[in-house]
């Protein structure tokens, strides 16, 4: 299954190539217009979604005003609420990158959950023999174990795709289920701490191996590392030849091969990198949250990550705001459940509705003249962005 991101990518690649020809001032204004469009349309969709959802609530006899107030207070309105949202966003950054990186090659990888779980397990597994080692060394080796495990697990999916033609979507999903079974087997078998009675777990980490919160915050370091990872992933995909090669291969394998690009190695490398990053989420769950590996590692972050990556249009820099938004909605979920006396599923309905509308908003890009780079002086970029240039699938 190949997403049609390739078409939009190709379009933006054109514009990226074309842009430098325009004078600098105009280019900046055109850039700003495009960025404004990319902010206004999804925000408009969100506003519409909140409006529709308010109608839904009103029809159930619940106050929409109270609801909006609770979303704000639960997810964004105070230091506690903000930290709650950021905390929830942290693992999602990695999970979304695991989808977004292979998407550069036109691949749809949906098995990040398995890499998260195995990454966490690998980190916990190496921590036991390392017990007593200096904290920094222990943490570094745990992270390394997670990275390698995730890279191997999803890199295998990429390799199967590249050299055996195995569909990466189904293979990664199957591998995810297998990973979870394997992790459960080991957590309740060989790696089980005999002292973990009613909650089977691996041995608890040395205190020195624990990853703490960010200075002045209650959110763990996973957030900062995740943000850096998003930035680096953006540099990789947008500013390096490797990223450029990946995009070409994602657009047209045959053309890439004719140009002599190592398509197989690109596919394997990008899926492996995605797996490694997902596994890092597992590492932080173990080192910063649980203190050991247990069944709670299977928390569904991998699946939420798919959604975030697609909403971010596979752009690594768009992942943090989307993840933060989702984290905020989830953070307010409990408060809404308690105060409005509505089922927990209410928030699922809201999320589904918001995402439907945001995705529908995609169709509006290029429809509003005010955002047209052309209007702001960049003719070539405008040509690259014309919706008619990208036929609907």
């Amino acid at each position: 299954m190949v997403a049609d991101t390739a078409t939009t990518d190709a379009a933006s690649a054109d514009s990226a190539v074309a842009a430098p020809r325009a004078p600098a001032g105009l280019q900046l204004r055109a850039w700003a217009a495009r960025r404004a469009e990319a902010a206004v349309i999804p925000l408009g969709a969100l506003a519409l979604g909140l409006g529709l959802f308010s109608l839904f609530l009103a029809s159930l006899g619940k106050s929409p005003a109270a609801f909006l107030d609770l979303v704000y207070r639960g997810g964004f309105g105070s230091s506690f609420a903000l930290q709650n949202s950021l905390q929830r966003a942290a693992p999602l950054l990695f999970a979304a990158l695991c989808v977004a990186l292979p998407a550069r090659l036109g691949l749809v990888v949906i098995g990040g959950e398995g890499a998260i779980v195995l990454g966490g397990l690998a980190a916990a597994a190496v921590a036991t023999p390392l017990s007593g080692a200096p904290g920094g060394l222990g943490i570094a080796l745990m992270a390394l174990a997670a990275l390698l495990t995730g890279a191997l697990w999803l890199g295998a999916v990429g390799a199967l795709r590249a050299w055996r033609g195995v569909n990466e979507t189904i293979a990664s999903l199957l591998m995810s289920y297998i990973a979870i079974a394997l992790a459960n087997h080991l957590i309740e078998g060989w790696l089980r701490d005999p002292a973990s009675l009613n909650k089977p777990s691996t041995r608890t980490l040395d205190e020195a191996f624990r990853v703490g919160p960010l200075p002045g915050l209650e959110v763990h370091w996973g957030l900062a590392v995740g943000l850096v990872a998003c930035l680096l992933a953006w540099v990789l995909t947008e500013r390096t030849t490797l990223g450029f090669a990946a995009r070409i291969a994602g657009g047209n394998v045959r053309a890439a091969q004719i140009q002599g690009l190592p398509v197989g190695r690109l596919i394997t490398g990008f899926t492996a990198l995605g797996g490694a990053l997902a596994a890092l989420a597992g590492f932080f769950e173990v080192a910063a949250v649980h203190g050991n590996a247990n069944g709670s590692l299977v928390a569904g972050y991998g699946y939420t990550g798919i959604l975030i990556a697609f909403l971010a249009r596979q752009n690594p820099l768009a992942i943090p705001p989307v993840a933060f938004l989702l984290g905020g909605i989830e953070a307010s979920s409990g408060l809404i459940q308690r105060r409005l006396h509505v089922p927990d599923a209410t928030i699922l309905v809201l999320e589904g509705l918001l995402f439907l509308l945001v995705l529908m908003g995609e169709t509006l890009y290029g429809r509003f003249k005010v955002f047209s780079p052309h209007l702001w002086g960049d003719k070539q970029a405008a040509a690259g962005l014309k919706p008619s240039g990208a036929p609907a699938p």
Binding site: N84, N184, N198, S296, G334, L335, Q337, D344
Partner: protein, 368 residues
């Protein structure tokens, strides 16, 4: 109920620091209105574990001065930490009841340290002296209920084979399996019990498959220990097997195939917690009890339970009500042939050894 405390919530604003100072000024153990936060890992109407707790919480709602706030489907990750903090900071909860096993370590422990004025009582977790004093754990000797289930099952079975659908081989589950078979063997020592582990606390299709596999293997009375027994109970009844319930009353699901069931009764326990706190007394840190203490009760007998079975079960129940009843009684071996208890020895309900059971008794087919 939702409205009268809005001004207080507004005052508390939301930041952790402000919330804490407001709480300490109020004094968590003082008399007067208090808020109880109850957290469930699944849906609270699951005909099982969560429903039993929700019923206990519901019993608090009518009490004067008590507000109950609840959240369901809360994951055993930082999510539950944030839920607890939110209940404390935004709702002013002074007693938190996180009801799932996986909430305790590290989540309850972290929050208990962070919020020393708030009381945390966790269902199932093994609180020790080393843990914060404002935390604690409570649980019930529900294996007693499974023992009585076993007695009734023994009178109903024709194949002399019982079936048990279990989630994971942890001590609390193993005690129930052992209790079920020991109860049955107290009636007929020839009875055996097949156990199938599903590996997950809630997974409908696997539970249905396990039930079918047990019945195909000849079992004609089924019970279970998963979060929601609904699927197991309905599947077994549809196949024509008898059912013993667990966690909550499932008689409506199996009609005349329902024999009896081991149920939690958290209402008196939770009431005790809050009335104690209203009187300025923190709930106990380590609380256990069985049938005699009102933690556990039995479903009403179904129509298929014979008069002899009722008399037998009622007599043993009367024995249990005296306290100190030993399900594990020597001479007894586990199903690998190792001795568990020598002749004349026994483990009464409150024996600490039972908190770390790692075996299945002789006659159980399956491995711990």
């Amino acid at each position: 109920m939702a409205h009268h405390s809005i001004s207080r919530r507004t005052l508390l604003g939301g930041t952790a620091v402000l919330g804490l100072s407001a709480l300490s000024a109020r004094g968590a153990l003082a008399a007067g209105p208090m808020t109880v936060g109850v957290i469930y890992v699944g849906p609270k109407d699951d005909y099982g574990y969560n429903q039993a707790h929700a019923k206990g919480a519901a019993a608090l709602k009518g009490l004067p001065g008590i507000e109950v706030v609840e959240e369901e489907n809360v994951r055993e990750t930082t999510d539950v930490q944030k839920t607890m903090e939110s209940m404390i900071n935004m709702d002013g909860a002074s007693l938190i009841l996180p009801t799932s096993f996986g909430y305790f370590d590290p989540h309850v422990l972290i929050e208990a340290k962070k919020n020393p004025k708030v009381q945390f009582r966790h269902c199932g977790g093994l609180w020790t002296e080393a843990n914060p004093k404002n935390a604690g754990s409570y649980f019930g000797y529900i294996a007693q209920g499974q023992y009585l289930n076993g007695i009734v099952a023994a009178h109903a079975t024709k194949s002399k084979k019982l079936g048990f659908v279990a989630a994971k081989p942890i001590p609390q589950v193993l005690n129930n399996i052992n209790g079920f078979l020991m109860g049955a063997r107290s009636v007929d020592p020839a009875i055996t019990c097949q156990v199938i582990f599903t590996g997950e606390w809630s997974l409908a299709v696997k539970e249905a498959e396990a039930t079918n596999a047990l019945i195909d293997g000849g079992a004609d009375v089924i019970t279970c220990h998963v979060d929601s027994p609904k699927v197991t109970v309905e599947t077994a009844a549809r196949r024509g097997a008898f059912v013993c319930g667990y966690h909550a009353d499932q008689s409506a699901l199996a009609k005349d195939k329902y024999l009896t069931g081991a149920e939690w009764d958290w209402a008196p326990i939770y009431k005790g917690f809050v009335t104690g706190m209203q009187a300025g007394k923190a709930p106990p840190n380590f609380l256990r009890g069985g049938l005699a203490d009102g933690f556990v009760k039995m479903s009403a007998y179904g129509p298929a339970v014979s008069e002899a079975a009722r008399r037998n079960a009622d007599a043993v129940k009367a024995e249990m009500m005296k306290g100190g009843f030993a399900i594990i009684r020597g001479p007894l071996k586990d199903n690998k042939g190792n001795e568990i208890a020598a002749a004349g020895k026994g483990l009464p309900e409150n024996a600490p050894e039972l908190e770390s059971t790692g075996y299945l008794v002789e006659g159980v087919r399956g491995s711990a």
